[in-house]
Symmetry: C2
Subunit: 244 residues, 2 copies
DNA sequence: CGATCAATTGAGTCTCTTCAATACGCGTGG
DNA sequence: CCACGCGTATTGAAGAGACTCAATTGATCG
């Protein structure tokens, strides 16, 4: 189950075995409960087995920005591996199953098996890349594009994780969460989602958003996939993303 | 000269020696010239010896967001070490002296000397943390606070690099660059800087901003230092930052 | 069947943007 | 040394996108 973590890096069997033999404890978390709290020293890194999580930071005035969404197969909190104190929180978006690995075990692994370390390092680099795109999104796009971009990124990452059909392309976020992910107010998010629904791009059911037309959302959201650094086997386009 | 890179990580003499013996070539770049171009495969990682650089990304509509500022003693483009294509550009902000290290040499080093690898990994984690804060800044603060935050971060990092006095606390950015760093227009930046100057927080000379009152800027900008992960020897406050 | 939380709708406001014109600083060349 | 040109900064006025406030609806759950 922890194996599909490293889709993106070449691992030999030895590294793979080392990763597989990491000690862990399984935990289940309810929505909104904290995996990591801002200001805590990090003791564990968790790999998501099932469900979604998100990262967030608060301003001094108590305003929130959601920084990223995490899916099954991803490690959360490798970001704090070598840092003293966590600079942000990680919370469960849905009911969440995680495998908690002691931080020390990961440090030891990456010392003894540089290839596995490089694979994890690579994941943190990809997450930085996503963070940069996120900043561009909230900093330089209008509200429609921000939301469309969020949906597009989610859809493509869902697909990459092999979960698109299974979850029926449903983003389990409330308007308030979407607003905090895009630097908007929930009221404005509501209006824009309504317009998207009217245009047949999405449907809304029970506080979640189901994606219907990825292609058009990608256009509206100025979405391109390069920043996700998804390995390309062949030269073909990624689905739902306009050519370059 | 490359030695001061690793202020934040504990390195034994062996790792230090390995880092010091990395092969490199020295290059000088004029302002605005590219160190890394979006879409290029990364062949080198550069350590800044003198001057400032910045990272940027463009939207499909050609709008720019500046993602970070880099100072002497920092590696740029470790971010692309294990990635196929660069997802952003790095440009010289001022005249720039860099030491270019072949990517392969760094990979080899981090395989053979995990401690040095961890030190570099740590630097990339800190940069992600800065990127997250940057996203919060453009996503959830008003224009005044964004600019004040940018100035505060710059001031503290200058100091950490030991360059505050030497450079007289001067941020060598045009209004347009500040605007692109904060997700604003240069016109609005101009107005706000004028107000800051009127309040005695800064002075402007020749398209650069000199910082006068760090403490007040930090308040206005909702600036706290945790996200920079600057190692604290003693329990004392960082200068120019309000006590938590 | 209230209670509660999320979403919706409308009206008015404000920050920041856009557009346009002008001024300034600085290097170049006459 | 001054005129010219260019990039950057400034200023004003008008407009737009997103926000705030407030009231209403809707869904879910005990």
């Amino acid at each position: 189950m922890v194996e599909r973590l490293e889709l993106r890096s070449r691992l030999d069997s030895e590294s793979r075995a080392a990763l597989m033999s990491l000690p862990y404890t399984r935990r289940t978390l309810e929505p909104d409960s904290y995996l990591v709290r801002e200001g805590d020293p990090p003791h564990y890194c968790s790999a998501i087995l099932d469900g979604f999580a998100f990262r967030q930071r608060l301003t001094g005035e108590g305003r929130r920005l959601i920084l990223s969404i995490h899916m099954p197969g991803e490690f959360v909190d490798l970001e704090n591996l070598y840092l003293e104190l966590s600079d942000h929180s990680v919370q469960a978006l849905t009911r969440l199953e995680v495998a908690c690995v002691p931080r020390r075990a990961i440090e030891t692994l990456s010392n003894e098996c540089p290839q596995a370390g490089a694979a994890m390092w690579t994941q943190t680099l990809i997450e930085s890349s996503i963070a940069r795109e996120w900043a561009v999104n909230v900093g330089r796009r209008d509200a429609r594009a921000r939301i469309a971009h969020l949906l597009s990124e989610f859809a493509l990452r869902l697909e990459t994780a092999g979960l698109g059909e299974a979850l029926r392309w449903t983003l389990p976020m409330t308007h308030e969460q979407i607003a905090d992910a895009c630097g908007l107010t929930p009221i404005h998010v509501s209006r824009i989602l309504k317009a998207f629904a009217g245009d047949g791009l999405i449907v809304r059911d029970r506080g979640a958003v189901r994606i219907l037309d990825r292609r058009r959302l990608a256009e509206i959201g100025d979405f391109t996939a390069r920043y996700l650094h998804i390995p390309q086997r062949d030269g073909s386009d990624l689905p739902g993303v306009p050519a370059h």
